[in-house]
């Protein structure tokens, strides 16, 4: 079966639903990885991207009750609930202006009590501090919520946020599109069509977006392939997706805590199959927060060409029990990529090259110095 799929891939033929399921079910994950690596190297050679970004979650108050979420609190004042004042959010960037990120990535809960002007003010304030900062903010689920909650169309929401400083949308909130799964794990937020429509509108406005898939919980391989093919259809239509990011389910502290987390093999297989099915999406990310830096490094040989960014302070996966560090320095990312035999390329959010690093590993002495500095940050699996 995999030989027939390999022939299709090499001939430039598009893979179908059955091919995707067969790849997920194929017992030899290294063979699937090899095929994905061929495609990855055809598209990007050894170049492997990362950026200097910063995650901020300004509120975890959320009206949705997704089973997989360990981050959200249902109401303000509940234990662990927090909502930043805009000045507190801006201070996070101001504190990093000696080595500033090129991108701020904001994802929040669906807070029912904030005025829309809060978000506009939030964006505008970041731009005042650093006018060239790229604001990649609010998932399609948030944008859909804003439209419903504040009585606007999706287009109006996006246009107003753009005027305030929004540059692109992250890929979160996609979870699993198929209603058999979505209705069970996240029934009270944007459905698949609504999620896709937000991205369609954003692309129509000239914005770039990313897409994700939360895998490894109650879904089947068929659901994963269905999800990927819906994204592929959107990309055929708009060409607006920049990167696909598979997100591993983490079970701690949420409504599916009795499920085991997906394993490293599943993570590598999902990266590989995604690369093979999403033939028109330029980049596939090995999001190190989700899969740990160690497995992300291996994923760079299984189809991924991007390892995401420095992050600095991630809380969503932390709340779900991720053992990854909260942030990595750009030196650590460069080294992870070099150790994988790839060429590190620092990019901006739109994949414009900021700096290309050498392929060779750092000199041994420099590595040791950096290792000592990084030791307290670079946790690896226990």
């Amino acid at each position: 079966m995999i030989d027939a799929i390999a022939e299709k891939v090499r001939a430039g033929e598009r893979l179908g639903f059955d091919d995707g399921v067969a790849l997920f079910r194929h017992p030899d994950v290294v063979a699937v990885g090899q095929l994905a690596n061929e495609v990855r190297e055809r598209l990007h050679g050894d170049r492997t991207y990362f950026n200097r970004n910063m995650r901020i979650e300004v509120t975890n108050v959320c009206v949705a009750s997704c089973l997989f979420c360990s981050f959200a609190k249902l109401e303000e004042g509940a234990p662990g609930a927090h909502t930043m004042r805009v000045e507190e959010a801006w201070a996070e960037l101001e504190a990093r202006m000696d080595d500033p990120p090129s991108e701020i990535h904001i994802v929040n809960g669906l807070h029912p009590g904030l005025p829309f002007s809060y978000y506009e003010e939030l964006l505008a304030g970041f731009k005042r501090i650093k006018p060239d900062i790229h604001m990649k903010c609010f998932t399609a689920v948030e944008i859909h919520f804003f439209a419903q909650h504040y009585g606007m169309t999706v287009r109006e929401v996006l246009e107003r946020l753009r005027r305030a400083g929004l540059d692109s949308l992250p890929g979160g909130g996609a979870e699993i599109f198929h209603p058999e799964v979505r209705s069970r794990i996240s029934h009270d937020k944007a459905d698949a069509d609504e999620w896709l429509e937000v991205h369609r509108v954003a692309h129509g406005l000239g914005m770039r977006t990313n897409a994700t898939m939360l895998y490894g919980h109650i879904e089947t391989f068929e659901h994963r392939v269905d999800h990927l093919l819906r994204l592929r259809a959107l990309q055929d239509e708009t060409k607006g997706l920049q990167a696909f990011i598979p997100l591993a389910f983490h079970p701690d502290g949420n409504g599916m805590r009795n499920l085991p987390a997906p394993t490293a093999i599943d993570a590598l297989r999902t990266v590989a199959v995604s690369r093979l099915l999403l033939d028109q999406v330029p980049h596939v990310k090995a999001y190190w927060v989700s899969m740990t830096p160690e497995v992300a490094q291996i994923a760079l040989r299984f189809g991924a060409d991007d390892i995401d960014g420095t992050i600095v302070h991630e809380t969503i996966y932390k709340a779900a029990g991720s053992r990854s560090p909260a942030g990595l320095t750009s030196d650590q990312l460069v080294r992870l990529i070099q150790e994988a035999g790839r060429v590190p390329v620092e990019r901006d959010t739109l994949y414009r090259v900021v700096r290309e690093h050498p392929r060779a590993a750092l000199p041994e002495a420099a590595v040791k110095v950096r290792e000592r500095k990084a030791a307290k940050h670079l946790e690896v699996l226990s």
Binding site: A6, F24, Q34, T220, L381
Partner: protein
């Protein structure tokens, strides 16, 4: 095995290494070629050697740690004992570990016991190593913080919150799942206590 894998092995110049391995004529030339090879091609070769020589079974030793032999060159290894990776006293990155496992499988003795110590590299990487020639997993069963399980400790059964089972039994089941999801057949070193039947390696499960 597929043509895809054959081609990957051939393209990496490893077909001769495989032939030499089968003929028992591996020499320095093949060893040098092996160490320079692309990681996935090397993994494919090692996995093929593993399949031919030891089959799909994975020995899982949950009592390892006290009696392991001291490390030799390239890994902890005594004459009839396992080649243990990561080698004692050496820290390896994930990619280095996979390469070492594959090299040990191809350059080691025929049907060698290539064992990965999950307490030193983590279960995630140990699972990936099963695709790169490893045939054994070893380590102590511990809780999430790496601490030994207390005698009599119980844990909830997946999907049945009210049902408690001995913690070591639950952990063993998780280990079996790890091996199965790598497409292999688990066998505990104390097989009579195994908690689940072996699964077919033909198909992965989500």
């Amino acid at each position: 095995m597929s043509t895809l894998v054959d081609r990957a092995i051939g393209d990496a110049g490893l077909a001769e290494v495989l032939a030499a391995r089968r003929a028992g004529t591996l020499g320095d030339t093949e060893a040098a070629r092996l160490r320079r090879a692309d990681l996935l091609a090397l993994g494919a070769l090692a996995d093929r050697v593993r399949a031919e020589e030891v089959g799909d079974e994975v020995i899982v030793d949950t009592h390892a740690g006290e009696e392991e032999p001291a490390g030799g060159a390239g890994g902890g290894h005594s004459a009839d004992g396992p080649i243990v990776l990561p080698p004692p006293g050496r820290e390896l990155t994930g990619l280095e570990l996979l390469r070492e496992v594959a090299v040990a499988r191809v350059l080691g003795p025929r049907a060698a016991r290539v064992r990965v110590d999950w307490t030193r590299c983590g279960l995630e990487l140990a699972q990936v190593a099963l695709g790169f020639g490893a045939s054994e997993l070893a380590g102590r069963i511990a809780d999430k913080r790496g601490l030994p399980l207390a005698e009599g400790q119980t844990l909830g059964v997946l999907g049945k919150k009210s049902r408690l089972e001995p913690a070591d039994l639950v952990k063993r089941r998780e280990l079996e799942g790890f091996v199965r999801r790598a497409g292999r057949t688990p066998r505990f070193d104390d097989a009579s206590e195994s908690t689940a039947a072996a699964t077919t390696p033909e198909e992965a499960t989500p």
